[in-house]
């Protein structure tokens, strides 16, 4: 850190010493729109090569001090196509600059890499920029979901485990972080993205290939998302923008997943009871609970009630369905409110942006809350002629209240499984809405006896728990930025940037003495001596759990920017610099017993002495000690350079190199660094004299090649161990081995080749780009299963490689462009990946069970996450047993079927879409604009859930397919659900669960969202006090238009309890 400070100070001192002045003349001009020559207020005029600029006044006029005789000016205005014009002295006449409207925001000219701004025409790499207009088309609390369907190659995957999440152009790593690097205002963002207010975002640039991303070196292998926040604009009075909206969501549909009926469930409990299945559990020393039906059946057996009484009660239970209670008490229509206000303006010497935002969400889960408050201030000062200082602070505070329990669970008496779904005929409340008790961990009779002995009330009432819950997380996140830009010469700038960011998440979970968690723990830790006197080994009072996690990040960058036009017609743009990063993260957790919230006092407890559990006196129980701390440090040193040379506006060559070093643990110093580079070429074909296609006035070919990397801090060259805490036996601090030694460890590399063509027809009737890429993951770190005798079950090293390829097509068309406008924006992406080298194969079972994302089981020649199955030969017509194939013959030897080689499994396809994209149609007529977005995901598969007789035999709630099971010969023609077996065979169950018949195509097309907006025109604004106003309606998650597989399941959410709810938003945006 010392170094950072030292360097920073040196820079500031030196920069402060140097000023200079030159003779200036004034350039005056006016900016108008084409073709109506209306004045454009707020257009930005810059001299090329200088970052500062001026903006036009209400009449579209501007004045600019210039010190050169010959230069180019750049004029830009949101919604209009920017122009660049060479000028030469004298400047005695008013210059008129006319801009043509550009309604396609994706055509935004400048892209930001986080290190520099590059005009898109000059880029060789693959960039996508999402401007402010498109970002605001969606209504959401967060920023990332606004990138869905607007960036080619970017997809937010659904699915399971590792297969889930944001990906850019497929995945080129196996075990390292696969998520894109997120950069906010020039530096990687380490905080929670939910703390960013989308109203403060100016634009987002996505870097996709090596030429675009390799400037980010070892963290760019998965692509980079560069987010730029709003800044002040010069030479205009203050402008206030107000945005406010409210979003209402439907109540979730808890009947989305099929489930066996209460009547079937009760019948099954009766069968299990009659077969004596519960008899050993009844004697279990853990006092496992039994459902009301089993208790009734036991009462009949023990002659406590008559059979008729029991049957009467049973028939009443059969008609109950817990899901109604869930819908009524656990879920609700969601309401999200968003308010944002921004103030923007400035003069030549100072530009500013100040904003505040408040979001308040009432989620679908009853009793949960979310609130976020954000404030931003950003100032840019022009000090003298050559020095520009930008300073900004972004502050965000969120509060997350989690009181909802979600679906209720209990301890299954037959397996001891504590997370079993509650029996389907349970009621959470009486007819008046008062919380009712349900079984949880112990048998009712045990609870009643215990209460008689003087223990605390031991009943579990889920709805009461929700009322008592006090579980709040407060998230504070702030960033402080300062950037100096000193112009050494017109062509050379020296920049120094520093960012400090810090985030603190503080959790406070107070379990009052009335909460089940506290009552249960107090009771379990109660002992009764021979006289019957109670001894509480845990003090009465609440239990307070506090968690804290925080990060502190320092970033310092020093960079030289060079931009020079040569007389021969060439132009060189280059940057070089170095960067230092230090990220510290820590977490802590502690608990207070016997806590009194009124006085904030707690009581001492004895953590070490084992006490006899009240529930099972044969077992020991200690007062749980949960306190823990962790600390981690990430350090990077990086050196980078990047340059591009343009010859006669036709030929572009670019190159980039970067060396990253980090404190990657245990790798010898030489290997700590990884040099990465890229190179690219582009050819503006349409600028050539032989180019004659006047219908296509813009045509550019470009290609890049290079490397970026992925870093993984979980591996080490040495044997590493980590301290785990205190061993309960010896009381000594103990350690476990994390990592066997691996002296050959290297950094992962990703090689990317990109080919692209950009085109634009006359008058932009259509425009777009087509890109094709190849990606190779080299030296990837993979966990490999090892035979048990080695002492490790898996081993991590640079074993693997992957290959990916795909294409991104962007096509924008102006189908109609008169008074009635119809614009079409089409995105199509294809991204495939496959594992090309993976040394060892795992058991067939692992691929089947976990290969689709639950865990990582790469198989050579297949996508990283793939859906496999076992061939299906239908149900046995005599017994209803599922049948598979073994050596080409129909077989029921399930154990042998599971022993087939992984290559013999049925491979369906990837678990993630091979093809995806969107079609957005925008219609506008006068002030009305309707934008309809249809998206699609194609070529992936999912495994549907069905019923399991293992679960049924354990008295658990099973899938609704139970009703469709094979029951008599002939049923095999209409169902594929196996018959109920005489005795449960685990392999038979697994065979069916992993059989081909349950794998479905997941292809789908959905009407994702619709935005309808009404803009008040200029003529209407007049005296009303605002410059412009927009009213908008927005509907999201509208409908599935088509899907490849039948049934009720949404193929992107086959396992979810319910699908994302449909929402409708209404809002207003005012410019004052």
């Amino acid at each position: 850190m010392k170094t950072i400070l030292k360097t920073g100070w040196l820079l500031i001192i030196h920069l402060g010493l140097i000023f200079s002045a030159r003779a200036q003349t004034i350039l005056a001009g006016r900016v108008v729109s084409l073709p109506d020559s209306a004045a454009l207020a707020g257009a930005v005029i810059k001299i090329k090569g200088f970052d500062q600029g001026v903006t036009t006044d209400e009449n579209g006029r501007f004045r600019l001090a210039v010190s050169q005789n010959q230069f180019s000016i750049q004029v830009s205005y949101i919604g209009y196509k920017s122009i660049e014009k060479p000028l030469a002295a004298p400047f005695d006449r008013e210059l008129v600059l006319a801009l043509a409207a550009d309604e396609n925001q994706l055509g935004e000219v400048v892209v930001s890499t986080g290190y520099q701004q590059i005009p898109k025409e000059r880029a060789t790499g693959s960039f996508s920029t999402v401007g402010n207009g498109l970002l605001n088309r969606r209504v959401s609390t967060d920023i990332i979901s606004r990138l869905d369907d607007v960036v080619p190659g970017l997809i937010n995957n659904r699915g399971k485990g590792g297969a889930q999440g944001l990906l850019i152009r497929g995945q080129s790593t196996i075990n390292s972080a696969a998520r894109p690097l997120i950069v906010i205002d020039n530096f990687p963002y380490e905080g929670d993205l939910a703390s960013i207010n989308p109203n403060d975002i100016e634009n987002v640039t996505v870097l996709k290939d090596a030429a675009a991303g390799s400037i980010w070196g070892s963290r760019a292998g998965n692509g980079v998302i560069v987010i730029t926040t709003k800044k002040g604009s010069g030479d205009r009075g203050p402008q206030i923008t107000v945005n406010s909206n409210v979003t209402i969501g439907q109540r979730p549909d808890l009947f989305y997943q099929s489930r066996m009926s209460s009547a079937d469930f009760i019948e099954n409990e009766r069968l299990l009871f009659e077969s004596g299945r519960y008899s050993s559990a009844e004697k279990n020393v853990n006092r496992y609970p039994f459902t009301p039906v089993v208790e009734l059946l036991m009462a009949v057996r023990d002659k406590a009630i008559t059979k008729d009484q029991a049957e009467f009660e049973l028939s009443a239970l059969k008609s109950k369905d817990l899901r109604h209670d869930y819908e009524k008490y656990l879920y609700q229509p969601s309401v999200s409110q968003q308010y944002a206000i921004g103030l923007r303006g400035g003069a030549a010497s100072n530009r500013y942006y100040i904003s505040a935002g408040y979001d308040q969400n009432r989620p679908s889960e009853t009793a949960n809350r979310y609130a976020r408050f954000t404030v931003n201030a950003n100032n840019t000062y022009q000090v003298g002629k050559n020095l520009e200082i930008n300073a900004g602070i972004n502050y965000s505070e969120s509060k997350i209240t989690t009181a909802n329990l979600g679906p209720v669970t209990y301890t299954n008496p037959l397996t001891g499984f504590t997370g079993a779904a509650l029996y389907p005929y349970a009621s959470l409340a009486d007819p008046d809405g008062n919380p009712l008790a349900v079984i949880n961990e112990y048998r009712l009779s045990f609870l009643e006896q215990s209460e008689k002995k003087g223990l605390l009330d031991w009943q579990y009432r889920p709805l009461q728990e929700m009322k008592l819950a006090h579980n709040i997380i407060k998230l504070t996140d702030y960033r402080f930025n300062v950037a100096l830009d000193y112009k050494l010469r017109p062509a050379l700038h020296l920049k120094a940037l520093y960012q400090y960011s810090r985030g603190i998440s503080q959790g406070r979970n107070l379990s009052s003495q009335d909460s089940y968690m506290t009552r249960n723990l107090v009771n379990r830790l109660t002992s009764i001596d021979s006289t019957g006197a109670l001894k509480r080994n845990l003090p009465l009072g609440a239990i307070l759990d506090q968690t804290a996690s925080e990060y502190n990040s320092h970033n310092l960058r020093t960079q030289l920017d060079f931009d020079h036009s040569f007389k021969a017609g060439g132009e060189l743009t280059a940057i070089a610099g170095f960067e230092i990063r230090d990220l510290g993260t820590s977490t802590s957790r502690n608990r207070f017993y016997g806590y009194d919230d009124e006085f904030a006092t707690s009581k001492a407890v004895d953590y070490l002495t084992p006490n006899r559990s009240f529930v099972n006196p044969a077992s020991n129980i200690r007062v749980p000690f949960v306190d823990a701390q962790t600390g981690a440090t990430d350090r990077y040193l990086s050196y980078y350079a990047n340059g591009s040379y343009i010859l006669r506006k036709k030929y572009i060559v670019s190159a980039s190199a970067r060396l990253d070093q980090s404190n990657l643990f245990g790798v010898s110093t030489n290997d700590k660094g990884v040099p990465l580079y890229s190179a690219g070429v582009a050819w503006n074909l349409s600028e050539e004299s032989f180019y004659r296609a006047s219908w296509l006035p813009y045509l550019k070919l470009r290609s890049t090649f290079g490397y970026s990397g992925n870093s993984n801090k979980n591996v080490s060259a040495f044997t590493t161990a980590s301290f785990q805490g205190t061993d309960l036996y010896s009381g000594a601090t103990y350690a476990t081995i994390q990592n066997p030694p691996n002296p050959e460890l290297r950094w992962e590399k990703v090689q990317t080749v990109n080919f692209a063509v950009d085109f634009e027809s006359r008058n932009r009737v259509f425009s777009g780009s087509l890109e094709y890429y190849l990606k190779k993951g080299i030296d990837l770190i993979g966990s490999m299963p090892y035979p048990g005798s080695s002492g490790v079950k898996s081993f991590t090293g640079n074993y693997a490689s992957t290959a990916g390829q795909g294409m991104d097509l962007t096509l924008n068309a102006r189908v109609l462009d008169k008074v009635f406008k119809w614009h079409l924006d089409l995105l199509f992406s294809r991204a495939t990946d496959k594992v090309t080298n993976y040394a060892l194969t795992s058991l067939t079972n692992s691929y089947l069970g976990s290969g689709d994302g639950t865990s990582i089981y790469p198989l050579e020649g297949r996508p990283l996450y793939a859906v496999y199955s076992l061939d299906w030969a239908g149900l046995d017509p005599v017994t209803g047993d599922p049948q598979g194939y073994l050596n080409g013959e129909i077989s029921k030897d399930y154990a042998a079927i599971f022993r087939i080689a992984p290559q013999q499994m049925h491979y369906h396809g990837p678990a993630r879409p091979k093809m995806f994209g969107s079609v957005r149609n925008s219609f506008s007529w006068r002030s009305l604009t309707l934008s309809v977005n249809v998206n699609y995901r194609l070529g992936h598969y999912y495994r549907a859930k069905s019923m399991s007789y293992t679960e049924l035999n354990n008295g658990l709630v099973v899938h609704g397919d139970y009703a469709l099971r094979w029951q008599k010969p002939g049923d095999e023609l209409i169902t594929s659900v196996p018959s109920k077996p005489q005795s449960v065979n685990g392999n038979r169950e697994n065979f069916y669960a992993f059989s081909q018949v349950l794998v479905k195509k997941a292809d789908n097309i959905r009407l994702q969202d619709v935005n309808l907006s009404y803009n008040l025109k200029r003529s209407q604004r007049g005296k009303s006090g605002f410059q412009s106003a927009q009213l908008y309606l927005y509907a999201n998650n509208v409908a599935i238009l088509w899907k490849a597989s039948k049934g009720n399941l949404d193929p992107d959410y086959p396992l979810a309890m319910f699908t994302p709810v449909r929402t409708l938003s209404a809002g207003i945006k005012l410019d004052l």
Binding site: T3, K6, L10, L11, H14, L17, I18, S20, G276, R277, Y278, S279, S280, L414, L488, L492, I580, T609, P610, N616, P617, A618, S619, N620, T630, G631, A632, T633, L637, N663, L664, F665, K672, F718, T720, A721, S722, Q724, D727, L728, Y729, S730, G731, A735, I737, Q738, P740, P741, G788, S789, S790, G791, V792, F795, L840, L843, A895, R899, N953, N954
Partner: protein, 450 residues
Amino acid sequence: MKKTNSLIYPFLVGFLLLTGCKGDFLEEKPQKSLLVPTTLTDFQALLDNGQALMNTAPYQSILSDGDFQMSESFFAGQSQLNQNSYIWADQPEMTLPGWDTPYRQVFTCNVVLDGLAKLDKDLWHTPQYESVKGSALFFRAFAFYQLAQLFSPAYQPGSEGIGLGIPLPLQADVNLKHPRSSVRQTYERILDDLMQAEPLLPLKPVYISSPGKPAALALLARTTLSMQDYPGALSYAEKCLALKSELLDYATLAAASAVPFPHPFALGNPEMLFYSRMAVSYFENPAFTVDTTLYASYASGDLRKPLYFGTGLNYKGSYTSNQYPFAGLSTDETYLIKAECLARTGQSQAAMKTLNAMLEKRWAKNSFKELTAGSPEQALKLILAERRKELVGRGMRWADLKRLNQDPQFAQVLTRTIQKKIYTLPPGGERYQFKIPDDQTYEGTVVQNP
């Protein structure tokens, strides 16, 4: 130009500063809790991972040894692995903790032993170094012993070179491939490790989850007994008892208690030489009950009957003082080894004296009558009967069956009946060796059991 130069200067200074200090800057470890084990304290910390790893033992054998039975409904709810162990099924498991966990213990010991060898030679004769090294050797021997009982055929003197033992990794290199050794090599390895460990270990360890000299001698006695080297076992048992021979007087315990034995860590059990437990809690389940013939063999007045068993014939006598079976070493076992070896070597009087010394602490006050034997054979029978009664629920029966089945007069056929189907395990049956799990054998180096 001058200006330019003066600004380039801080840029260069910064660059040099960064380059200059990067050594320290990049040496910071990424996780606070991470350590590269290099010191004696680190190695001790690895061996102190007791509850989760080092002081655990496989449990399969108590499902297979016939001393306990499951009710049909309890059986139906068991995992495939446990069902297969219970009925001696031939089908190998995909993965088997009873194989993997002891090898994880071996690996940890090898990391420690490799690391110790790299330490400065000046440290080699310090008590801490010796204790860590002795412990690592002991833990490795203990793990190999457990593996040999489960996966190797019984040690048959004279033909022990023929059968396949277990793989014996002795270095912490996970990439080395180890085929199975012979039975002889396996047992020689165990003895060798223990003989090296014994002089290094302290007389009295700091805690009972850590081995001391008596534990090493007790395990030597147990191992040589399995090898039917009775004079050898006798000598180790005597050496062990010379160091520690205390017995717990069962008459001082409350038979009505659900957990009658004193907590070994909180209260201390004087018999305990080394603590280890099986990671299975069957004994808390009333549907897992002791064999009725065995139960009937306890005479009235024998306190083990009410102390070991609940009224429902469930077992509650674990020396762990909780629901987990004890799998460590204790003095009562060593008394029994000594007695058996005395009988086997013709010293029936001394044998009975040793047995009675132990039994005296097992009976109610004033009701114990010393057992007598007229011949070594008679003494042996009495001692073996008492051995089974004393060590029930500790996973010892499996090794005893493997050894004693070689002698026709003690051979036993085990049978089970589940859903009217009868399963048997004859003496010397193939299933006295568990199948090695698939996730070991698929790789090809390790040969599957028949």
